[in-house]
Symmetry: C2
Subunit: 240 residues, 2 copies
């Protein structure tokens, strides 16, 4: 299996350049990439935005929403790229269109999978570590399970601050680490907190971290920081 | 119906004092209050923490988890107070213990309902405007529907900042207003964004805002700020 999973926040020139470099290296001479824009409401606008920001990396992005038969599109794709937005809406669409099994089969058969943000979340066993608002109710929180661990995209540590005029004021909502600790009160699966701009390059059990550091949370243990370039240690979880 | 719904972030002396004043005014001579701590994992610890922080306002808090028959406890309570934490975990427990109907019946019959944060979220038609991580999967996102609009607790506007050393760095995840806009791409119900420290005092259709301002979001319209002390305008939604 070959996956390239980005955290999100690819909005600075350096981060975009790293994504483009990795995507090109990953896909090589592929011509077109099947793009899944269901996490946003405006599908055509999303394809345009990807191109405007350069995140298509020069490949032709074919919006799955423009095709008559999305399942057939997955079966024939050279590569699939699942974009970000609202993870609940994305997963709900994958269920509605019966796309989970076809995507799993193709990716397990070697088709490259690229995801950013919500597209990274749905590659995990469940979407139980998303930061998004549950604006729709998918039939289940179970997702593609292409990797055997959870990723928390847009990860950061510490408290949130909000600007009141020129002042930074502390926000008392749960921190991200609080939320992941609560996840582990109810679940066993390891969680990787991936900072914005971070990318995981995954070939079967070989997971390399690029572009940012990441924090690994194992239930009942202290969290541990991994630096960019590191390979992810073996995790105490079964392969998906 | 009588509800006192707090946003969250009751962690400054002024905010706590306002909550205590309102709770006393609301409950008057009631002796004990049935406290629902299911949004946190440590139920006993939660009751202790409420008392330590003074948020019990001098009333006896009886943890529903300490009672043999939670449904019977709701039927007999003088008042119910639902605490904060993870909204998905809270709602899942309410479903598991068959508490939704008994709570609805009692509150519609006049029993005072107090909620903070997650406890405020579950008073709404659904939990689709929670900020929490979906660490468990409740049977449905539909909640108590005691009020006919959604509340977004811990509301703030603008961008998030995270501290790197002494520097404040912008975080590129969706802003709260982005998330509520996405909610309205998929749903019709009005949303009230309630800043931390804010309280809604609700007597039937009469909703008064205390302790903070709030932002009202109606689908397809510009949002509108309400100041503390204001009464909520009539909303274009059916009573629950």
């Amino acid at each position: 299996m070959r996956l390239l999973l980005g955290s999100g926040g690819f909005r600075t020139p350096e981060r975009i350049a790293l994504w483009v470099e990795q995507m090109r290296d990953w896909l090589g001479p592929a011509r077109s990439v099947l793009f899944v824009p269901y996490a946003l409401a405006d599908h055509d606008g999303y394809v345009r935005m990807m191109i405007e920001r350069g995140l298509h990396s020069g490949y032709e992005l074919v919006g799955i929403h423009t095709l008559w038969d999305p399942v057939e599109a997955v079966r024939k794709a050279e590569a699939i790229f699942v974009g970000g937005g609202n993870t609940f809406r994305l997963l709900n669409s994958l269920y509605r269109l019966n796309l989970l099994d076809p995507i799993r089969e193709r990716v397990r058969g070697g088709m490259p999978y690229l995801g950013i943000s919500a597209g990274t979340n749905v590659a995990c066993p469940t979407i139980r570590t998303t930061n998004d608002m549950p604006i729709v109710q998918p039939p289940s929180l179970d997702a593609l399970g292409l990797v055997p661990f959870q990723i928390n995209a847009h990860y950061y540590t510490g408290t949130n601050f909000v600007k009141h005029g020129e002042q930074f004021v502390e926000h008392f909502g749960e921190t991200r680490d609080d939320r992941i600790r609560e996840f582990h009160e109810e679940n066993e699966t390891p969680v990787l907190g991936l900072w914005e701009g971070g990318i995981l390059r995954i070939e079967d059990a070989n997971v390399q971290l690029l572009g940012s550091s990441a924090r690994l949370f194992l239930k009942g243990k202290s969290s541990r920081d991994l630096v960019g370039g590191a390979r992810l240690p073996d995790l105490p979880c079964k392969p998906a």
